[in-house]
Symmetry: C3
Subunit: 224 residues, 3 copies
């Protein structure tokens, strides 16, 4: 409410509250959610739904937004959805937990979030709308594309390149110098030692292809 | 010794000191151990054995207790042992390392401990006598039963349900929405993507059954 | 520059800056690098190359050194190289991130480094020139030999013994009581449940031998 407090509105709902409740530190207050499947006024664990996605222009001018809408196997549609919202660049918040080890020269794009006890080593660049969950380790000189999701405890070795909208499951590990293609899905706990083509699902130790992502995957809008 | 200091006595011995030495923060002092296999007066790395398990009523009234007696494949007997001690609910301590990321609405039952750099996301509930070791990640809306043990770096996805006395090995990962049955054992590094029946041992990536736990497993009382 | 500030010079180069940039805390300043493949005066992300390895005696007497020269499959030669430098014991620095959970009785040898959010439990001993990266978990009563490298998020259970120069990949887990032989290599994400002989490479879940390290591996000096 005061001029020093950052005010956030989140595109999402119950599933997104994990991000906001644990990552938003002192000086940041979440006002509520924008959600297309729950009516305005609905309660999301103590915070209100303020309207639908299209209602963001009705928020006060000082409010910033976050869209942690990552969903496994639906990222092509989710990324397109976020891009279509039309929120100006300077209205997106970037949420970085203060309990992180991030080298000074790391670049983090807007609307990204980084959870507690995560590491990002020198020379790495993260795009826009990237989700980095708790205890993730990103090695030096990595390139993490827009809309990428890294689940809790995931690991990327040095010089790894993760393509736009790829979904790295929790506890997965990506060897140094590996390239993961756009919208690829790395299963929970997968150990990735060779490059992963775009739209490919891999799992196991070592990780092997087990399926593909349709280019329009996730076009149905589901609860988030 | 002062009125502001919490004083603890631990059911256990050498193996338990890892918990007390690293989790007990400022304002908490461990007086010693109760142990049925080492005589009173024995030294456990600088702290004394104060008596056997049955001697807890002899401790001063302000002393609180912790029973980190989890042992893989012996949890049916260990859980029964802890329940038989007869310690009143309000004499159990709960030990949470201050260097943790725990959402405000999380419930943690008494006599549980949570190690450094652990995460517990919104909406999750932990039972009594639960051991959560360092860097564990518990997702949102999980239900963790009494006497569960989660080894270091273990991961539980959102809405996971872990039954009473289950033992989740270090570095194991449990996919969201998965149910792990009572007294099941998840091997170190196992990647669990389907429900695990009670008393079942699983291991591997993906995890597969490799054995069973006898319902009376661990009835011999071994050093802890 | 002031008497209270610790000044470091690093044997290494671009790959080593991840260590220095993220582990060196307040009160420590890195002056630059000693490197045998880049000419003096070269820029390493804002810090200068000050000379070759043999030039260390030319540094001011208050300067301390660190040699994070660990490289997978080249550790026999790398360990020998570090030992040959002839730096006196009291000129080596030990670099421990303040955001760690290390039991009071842990011993860490000189020229070792420990990254953020790492755990070392009671009774464990680390040798000289050991690299412990971010979020590593070392259980109680472990014995970690000289020149060992533990990649990010690696796990060692209680009483594990890791031989000289062994390389434990990121996200690998070593079961309690396991012995890993000298110069063995544990692959990223490997789950080690049986002892590993010296000079042996293992990978997978469970880990199995996939190759060997030559006793003179890494004798060519490559960029670090």
């Amino acid at each position: 409410m005061s001029g020093d407090e950052r005010r956030l509105v989140i595109f999402g709902g119950p599933g997104s509250r994990a991000v906001t409740a644990t990552y938003a530190g002192a000086g940041t207050r979440v006002l509520g959610y924008l959600n297309d499947t729950m009516p305005a006024g609905s309660d999301v664990h103590g915070l209100p739904v303020l309207g639908g996605f299209a209602d963001w222009p009705g928020q006060p001018a000082d409010v910033q937004f976050l869209a942690p809408l990552h969903k496994v196997k639906q990222m092509p549609a989710r990324a397109a959805l976020v891009e279509r919202l039309g929120v100006p660049d300077d209205r997106w918040a970037t949420l970085v937990d203060p309990r992180t080890a991030i080298a000074p020269d790391v670049h983090i794009g807007f609307s990204s979030h980084v959870g507690a006890f995560a590491h990002i080593q020198p020379g790495s660049r993260l795009g826009r709308h990237v989700g980095v969950r708790g205890s993730v380790f990103i090695g030096h000189d990595c390139n993490i594309g827009d809309h990428v999701f890294l689940g809790a405890q995931a690991f990327c070795g040095g010089y790894a390149r993760i393509g736009e909208g790829a979904h790295i499951g929790p506890c997965a590990s990506i060897r140094e110098n590996i390239a993961v293609g756009r919208f690829a899905v790395i299963g929970m706990g997968a150990v990735v030692v060779v490059d992963v083509p775009e739209y490919t699902i891999v799992a196991g130790n070592p990780a092997r292809p087990i399926g593909e992502i349709a280019p329009l995957a996730g076009t149905e809008q589901s609860e988030v």
